[in-house]
């Protein structure tokens, strides 16, 4: 009960901002739902339309946020209430069927029950976690300045994935809210809505509400991913993980039904698909790789089933064997081994159940099962495939470990949902099927109650309370042109096992986003008691040093051992701000 109560408290305390974000969700969902109805009419049942539009809600909102940014029309956000109002007016007609059939009600119930659970996360943190979040904050803050030359300058200097930032800036501007809170709440709402995509894909394929609902539960709580990604501050990647299934679902629907479309409808459909692909890639460039992988898997499987249907099972088993071999190889790589933590080490029971269900999925729905297995194989392989066409990134691979780790739940949830529908087909007796559903649901719920954390993970909290106060103090007391040295550590992301660069290692990473002071990354292992380090710091014109409370900060003992070089300005039990006074 505690997470629900914590979530409801957050809902009350952050009511205005949460309402603004939910308004954006409802409006975005409403617009997508309207377009789906125009394009596909009764080919989609209401629950499918609801699930798909909840997946693609960001798509019109992203459009609107770009429009807001480039036109400066601040009132654009306030046209959003028109969508639910128009919907309600349209329901005044008496000849319509009930708006909410049972399955749609289940989806809405799932939404409203899990909303407080997701919001509970905010009850234990003021700032989004890890060093990525500080970068996102800075980008959103820059967008809010509405100075396009700054943005283009930024794009030239350091490319980043922009979709999430435009959307967050749009909402922060409209709700006059603190950026950090917008990031936190928007991130949790995005996380909450991602699993609805799997409901749609499974429901469409199997016509089974139960299998769709099971896939939804599996995607939301089966593994600690994608929820754990908010602890890494991976908001753009998380948002793209919601948009990828939307693009796939839309593409699949258009592929199936476009033959019967009028020219206008066809243009609308392809326009919508093209725009959603562009916006997905804008949100996170790795989405292009994942979309490409799935497209290739789909094309390959379709061709194989058409040209050599007898060879298809053999190729499927080869692909499955290749996946297992790849997984075994990756498990031996120290850098890539953590990939399996959510799926093998923490939720082995759920993964084992999904693998068992995959057998039934293959029997009943070989096409989508084959595509899912090939996608897993290609995603694992993508982490080993170097990309040499981008000279600034010599160690870049097609996909990186965190992204694959965040994304693997998608094909696995699909396999689980398809598998349960396959079980339904295989079992003749109704009570056996009901027992299977209950057992499968219980495995997820029991596993989640042990492994699924709804609060910020200790692994990634870089800012303590003293840090927050120290940064506020620093903002009020250090000169505007101060340059502050902050702790950093090296990144290792790819199979090459070489450093990709540096990343802030403590709360110092928030100094630039929150105070505007320039910061310089220095290794957190810097030997401050050595003269060579002082010379290096002086050469970099670092006037101050920040020591954080958490993460991997500088060693303050070394700083304190040299009072002639470093003068403590603010000392707390762990946090500290020092002035560099030893430079000539």
């Amino acid at each position: 009960m505690t997470p629900w109560l914590d979530g409801l408290t957050v809902l009350v305390n952050e009511g205005r901002l949460t309402a603004a974000i939910l308004l954006a969700v409802i409006a975005g969902q409403g617009l997508v739902s309207f377009l789906l109805r125009v394009l596909f009419g009764e080919r989609l049942i209401p629950a499918e339309r609801l699930a798909l539009s909840l997946t693609g809600w960001t798509f019109p909102l992203l459009f609107l946020s770009l429009l807001w940014y480039f036109t400066g029309l601040d009132w654009l956000f306030w046209i959003l209430p028109a969508v639910p109002i128009l919907f309600l007016l349209s329901r005044l007609r008496t000849d319509l069927k009930p708006a909410l059939p049972l399955t749609s009600l289940f989806l809405l119930l799932f939404f409203f029950l899990t909303l407080p659970l997701r919001l509970a996360y905010l009850s234990q943190t003021d700032l989004p976690l890890y060093f990525d979040s500080a970068q996102h904050y800075l980008i959103i803050k820059t967008l809010l300045l509405k100075n396009q030359s700054l943005l283009w300058g930024w794009l030239g200097a350091s490319y980043y994935h922009f979709g999430f930032h435009f959307l967050a800036a749009f909402i922060a501007n409209a709700a006059a809210a603190e950026i950090a809170r917008v990031m936190l709440i928007l991130g949790q709402v995005i996380l909450l809505l991602i699993p609805f995509s799997v409901f749609f894909l499974v429901r469409q394929q199997t016509d089974s509400d139960m299998a769709g609902g099971f896939a939804l539960l599996l995607a939301a709580f089966g593994w600690y991913m994608p929820a754990h990604a908010v602890n890494w501050g991976k908001y753009p990647a998380l948002m793209s993980l919601g948009l990828i299934p939307f693009v796939l679902s839309l593409a699949s629907l258009i592929h199936r039904h476009a033959g019967g479309f009028s020219v206008t409808k066809r243009r609308l459909a392809y326009g919508m698909l093209g725009a959603s692909i562009l916006l997905t890639i804008l949100t996170h460039s790795r989405s292009a790789v994942v979309l490409g992988i799935i497209l290739l898997a789909w094309a390959g499987v379709t061709r194989l089933e058409k040209d050599a249907p007898r060879a298809a099972p053999l190729v499927f088993f080869l692909a499955a064997a290749a996946t297992i071999l790849q997984a075994a190889f990756l498990l031996k790589q120290d850098v890539l081994k953590p990939l399996f933590d959510p799926y093998l080490f923490k939720s082995a029971a759920v993964t084992a159940m999904v693998l068992l269900l995959a057998v039934f999925a293959w029997k009943a729905y070989p096409h989508l099962t084959f595509i899912s297995v090939l996608t897993v194989a290609a995603m694992l392989g993508g982490m080993l495939l170097p990309v040499t066409i981008l000279p600034p990134y010599p160690n870049l691979t097609l996909l990186d470990r965190p992204y694959v780790e965040m994304a693997l739940w998608l094909p696995l949830s699909l396999l689980g949902g398809l598998g349960l529908a396959g079980v339904q087909k295989a079992l003749k007796r109704r009570w056996l099927w009901n027992a299977a559903v209950l057992l499968a649901g219980a495995v997820i719920v029991v596993n989640a109650s042990f492994t699924h954390r709804l609060y910020p993970s200790e692994c990634c909290v870089l800012v303590g309370r003293d840090d927050a106060a120290a940064i506020a103090w620093l903002d009020a007391n250090l000169p505007l042109d101060a340059t502050v040295g902050i702790a950093s550590s090296l990144l290792r992301l790819t199979s090459a096992d070489v450093a990709e660069g540096e990343a802030g290692a403590d709360a110092g990473i928030w100094i630039t986003p929150l105070t505007g002071r320039t910061t310089v990354l220095l290794s957190n292992a810097s030997a401050f008691d050595k003269e060579s380090t002082l010379k290096e710091i002086c050469k970099l014109r670092v006037g101050y040093l920040f020591v954080g409370e958490r993460g991997q900060p500088f060693h303050s003992a070394a700083l304190l051992s040299r009072p002639a070089w470093y003068k403590p300005l603010l000392l707390m039990p762990r946090t500290g701000v020092y002035e560099v006074i030893g430079c000539d």
Partner: protein, 137 residues
């Protein structure tokens, strides 16, 4: 002295801190941390360790007392060279730091452009750090 305070909720009004030591009263200007909703800090004159202090949070609006408590800075640790560390007493408000001296001469609260980006430099010695931390407690 720097006092870091955890506030009970968002509705807590603007306040200042008054610390009394014997007959001497010192006022500390307090600021809420905009990005840490329940956190505020107060800065002002140093206080000596060991003596009982009375802390009062006074509402800026009508000068009413919002909270009051006694504590003494009971422990000082000197890890290397004259650094004050102490054990915070149980309960709020909780002082957690010491402002040792006034920093730079120039002082401003104006907010500069946030477009200033962190400058990336080569680290000194390498330090292993798999990203993101693989542990999931």
């Amino acid at each position: 002295m720097f006092v870091n305070i955890l506030l009970p909720d968002l509705s807590f009004p603007a306040f200042s801190l008054v610390i009394s030591r014997g007959d001497v009263e010192n006022s500390y200007v307090c600021q809420r941390v905009s990005y840490a909703l329940n956190t505020a800090y107060c800065a002002g004159p140093k206080q000596p360790p060991g003596e009982p202090l009375t802390l009062r949070l006074i509402s800026n609006k009508d000068q009413t007392v919002l909270a009051e408590g006694n504590l003494s800075i009971i422990g000082l640790a000197f890890p290397t060279l004259g650094v004050a560390l102490y054990t915070p007493p149980p309960g709020a408000p909780t002082p957690t730091g010491t402002e040792l001296s006034s920093p730079a001469a120039s002082f401003s609260t104006a907010f500069p452009s946030p477009s200033v980006l962190p400058t990336r430099t080569k680290p000194l010695p390498p330090y292993p750090n798999p990203y993101p931390n693989p542990s999931y407690p």
